[in-house]
Symmetry: C2
Subunit: 330 residues, 2 copies
Amino acid sequence: MRRLINDGYNVVEEMLAGYAAANPQYVKLLEHDDRVVVSQQLSEEPRVRIIIGGGSGHEPLFLGYVGKDFADAAVVGNVNTSPSPEPCYNAVKAVDSGKGCLYLYGNYAGDVLNFDMGAELAADDGIRVETVTVKDDLISSENFEDRRGVAGDLFVFKVAAAAAAKGYDLDAVKAVAERANENTFSMGVALSSATLPVTGKEIFEMEDGDMEVGMGLHGEPGIRREKLRPADEVVEEIYSYIKEHTDLAVGDEVAVLVNGLGGLPLMDQYICYRKLNELLTTDQIAIHKSLVGNFATSMDMVGMSITLLRVDAELKELLDLPCDTPYYKA
Amino acid sequence: MRRLINDGYNVVEEMLAGYAAANPQYVKLLEHDDRVVVSQQLSEEPRVRIIIGGGSGHEPLFLGYVGKDFADAAVVGNVNTSPSPEPCYNAVKAVDSGKGCLYLYGNYAGDVLNFDMGAELAADDGIRVETVTVKDDLISSENFEDRRGVAGDLFVFKVAAAAAAKGYDLDAVKAVAERANENTFSMGVALSSATLPVTGKEIFEMEDGDMEVGMGLHGEPGIRREKLRPADEVVEEIYSYIKEHTDLAVGDEVAVLVNGLGGLPLMDQYICYRKLNELLTTDQIAIHKSLVGNFATSMDMVGMSITLLRVDAELKELLDLPCDTPYYKA
């Protein structure tokens, strides 16, 4: 095992304790529920509150995006495991300001079940909670409704949070987040597994020199495993897949995210970005802005994903709206 | 090999092309020398210019810290190799505004040689260039003058850049940067080697489950190799070493950097931070601010370092002065 931890069963508690201690200006843990990370910079004026969350092991997703004019709270599950309903509910109780809350998270069955229960508990208290589940991982299903959420989470969360910061009501925040969701397209590759803290073992076996095309953020199988190829070929394949499975077209404008899964050097991520930029330019797809780095990881997994968010004037304005969190500042 | 690259000999050029394309609002490559990354946000008023640099493979160090009110240029060498004298000189020519320039880089023989030649070439043009070599890696020598620079680079660079932004003259910028340098203390551990792009092999062998205490940023030997221990014990040893080899004392105040070397999950870094915070609190050493993340890496090396910068009122003000770069925003 190449992890620097203590007891594998305590990694989430210890991480959260460290996170709260390191970022006191941004967040605190809820006193009666340490699985809820709450912003220290909640707006004074009432507005729709943005609550994100999911399993741990994807840091800085989710907790790293709680702060000023981004997420108001994050609900934290165990490694690769949905948070339970209570913290989902407790997050609502902690941040609601009378305008309702929007849950946003990746589209996984366990998360849907537990966040929905959180929303029901909140409804009993008369607090309206709506939900947007991010569905950007093209390879996970032909049907939008069945797709999983991966690094595109970041873009959809940002759009929703900016809309809330601008004073949109709950229906309007949800609508624009759904529009971002429908226009966010991701696909990735993995060159290794991640190491589970409890077992100290890799989640699955992958030979050094192999690559899995289309692997999910928790190691969900992709479309095939093959010998590692040069970065340019990998980027070309991902970009072609995105074009074939969406209606992205000449003249569109996109925001780009080249996301490292944890163990891939930033050097390699920029080598991949270089090729992607070239392909988009050739296709006359304009780039509004680009992010390159580890935004949504799978612990120590070596790999990367590409996300394209097709933008319009409103989405651009929301993407660019200033915000301030430990791991995302605009 | 678990790297996503093309030809191993082209990694630096391709990375730089990608970096410039992804961050056009922050940087450009010099037209006649693509190993010089220049800020797009040079101050209009003349001021001391901050030029940082060194070998590649430590991203986001160095190029990631070029931008508004931080470094004005970065000089980029090959992987683990000093830049040659010409780009060091070209960087000066590109950014000098009549107030002179300060070179800042980690204290390695090759870098010293080549940056010094760059400074001599600039002197021939009548441009004054001074130098601060960062020497924070406690384990590398008992003597301050012989120590290498590791993640503490970030703090020393930031202090110097803020002093320049505040209008200090060259002597004053250098003096305060040296004061930061003398008060910056680092030590790290590595759980793996890094993978060299050209060979596709690890720089040295390290068994899974082993750890090297005190390893340098390029894999320089530490004080011993041993079986991996729990994170808390590792942090305790590092912290004890720092206390024993410096005059850090009760009542001091520090800025803290827990730095991931590339392949260590952010989760683990926060688990380490949690323990460090506990130890500092017990010792009544106040924490002014904390950074946790991959700020100075060794490509895919698994490991982390701890850096403490002992601060006073001036250093705190300089550390906190706003700046805006792709990988560091204050």
